[in-house]
Symmetry: C2
């Protein structure tokens, strides 16, 4: 397997990407090659500086960089020699099996949706986030921002994609799917959740447990939390502040520490044909290591293939 990494994306690129690669290789987490995309001279110098052997590494030079605040579609179109554009070209043409970047999120999403395309049958790809549960487990919430407005059939597919991901990547057996809502009983909710409930109830591909409320998000009630990307995004960003609050206030609590996004690395785009993982702009070495690790798992477990089967 070949995992492609945008070395120029993120606030601390390429340094932290290189350090993340070192962590990954030292831990000998998985076999397979890494394909580093970016400024070749800079990358080679950093690899040398950090005594990283190039045995498992190839470098593809990229002349340009898409900045964090550039317009995604415009930048991708005009900067064909950027690390992100080259990455998607390599991924689409089968030269690599997954693509990771902590760069311009919009450009990564546009690339994922238009270079790689959706899995057959997927109406709307989604992005998901890990939810640390108070009971010790790990849940998944989706969509967390790709689709600010959704229809019931989108949420129904998110439930399937989330279940496959939870099962294969998070090792949750027969994941419990909850519909995020404002009340527990069937019939509660806004127009969207009211119309989504019956679809989830009849969906044979998932283990639907009914509505869950805001108070259940961090509890063990559901493993996969389904919602539109507006509410999901607000929750995700609010949850991320829990870690900051813990740090700022010197609360050294194991649970709050689990909200540190570096533990998870990045957000995979679900519903596209190949693994694309988008990291935070402020990704450090640990986040990069975890993104590479996640890409490896997604390739090895054939997550996309399983999703396609379940969605058929």
């Amino acid at each position: 397997m070949i995992i492609g990494i945008d070395m120029m994306g993120g606030d601390y690129a390429p340094m932290e990407a290189v350090k993340g690669i070192k962590l990954y290789l030292s831990a000998n987490l998985r076999p397979g090659r890494l394909l580093l995309i970016g400024d070749k001279v800079q990358i080679q110098a950093l690899l040398k500086e950090h005594s990283i052997s190039e045995d498992l590494i190839s470098i593809v030079h990229a002349d340009e960089i898409i900045g964090m605040h550039e317009h995604p579609t415009k930048a991708l179109k005009e900067k064909q020699k950027s690390s992100i554009a080259i990455g998607f070209h390599l991924l689409a043409s089968g030269k690599m099996d997954a693509f990771i970047s902590a760069g311009n999120t919009g450009a990564m999403l546009v690339g994922a949706l238009f270079s790689i395309k959706a899995l057959e049958g997927v109406i709307r790809p989604a992005i998901s986030s890990i939810v640390p549960k108070t009971g010790g487990g790990t849940g998944l919430i989706l969509d967390v921002g790709l689709n600010a407005d959704c229809k019931p059939e989108h949420l129904n597919q998110f439930a399937i994609m989330g279940s496959v991901y939870a099962q294969l990547v998070l090792d949750v057996d027969n994941p419990k799917v909850g519909l995020l809502n404002v009340g527990e009983e069937e019939g509660k909710g806004n127009l969207l959740t009211q119309a989504t409930y019956p679809l989830l109830k009849e969906n044979k591909h998932i283990n639907f447990i009914g509505n869950i409320e805001g108070r259940d998000v961090l509890l063990d009630k559901a493993d996969v939390i389904v919602c539109e990307g507006f509410t999901g995004n607000v929750i995700l960003k609010m949850a991320e502040t829990l870690y900051d609050i813990g740090q700022t206030r010197n609360i050294n609590d194991e649970y709050l520490n689990r909200f540190n996004f570096e533990n998870y690395g990045g957000t995979p785009v679900l519903g596209v044909a190949k693994p694309v993982i988008i990291g935070h702009g402020i990704s450090g070495a640990r986040a990069f290591m975890n993104m590479i690790r996640l890409a490896g798992i997604m390739i090895e477990k054939e997550v996309m293939k399983k999703m396609k089967e379940e969605l058929a």
Copy 2:
């Protein structure tokens, strides 16, 4: 001023309501009379047991109780002798100036919307919640559940109602209004927030600071957070679990402790003609005391009158 209290509402009624009244009267927080609605024999026995003087107290007997899980509209209609039905009757006919209950939330909302009616010009009343800010201040978020689906003009009115409340009740000078969204820039968001932004921008009655994101909810960026009742409800219920997490995990942190709803007591219905405050079913003495206190402030500061002026 006369503050009416449903003595039969809530999981620990009427005991905790009585204890709350004792706390309120002992603190001598504000003048005015309390009108207690419920089983007269029970209430009198409890007042005596807790050595509460009846000087500032009147009791109106109620034969029936609306249970926590009864159908709101049906129960209100059929149980005319219930404490909630009598309370709304007394409030509507001017026999009291505010009504508090920790009973059936749905029945309280139906009563507030149909017995008391909306303030002139208000399209949709809303319920709000206090947001403890990491900087020490206190913000407000609305709607938190009354309107699961909203239109831009609803959110525009929530901004005005929230601003008046924040100014008069929370003592925030020229409150900063933020539109809860998935991105900071104008133009970001779902269809609703995209269409709401220009209305808020042109609204002369508020101090609009633009979009805020999930990561800003607990920070000082905005004093009044405007959103539809779906997202608001999810956030509110999720935030309430922060207190529980703090307790369960023995994190004795001042900030997390502020998420204890007992500090605030209850949720006022904003946009109706008179103060109606709805408490949690699990309200204890402290929550009752704070609800009575809040009702007093809302009457004294003429919050509804000011809202009506700003909305005109």
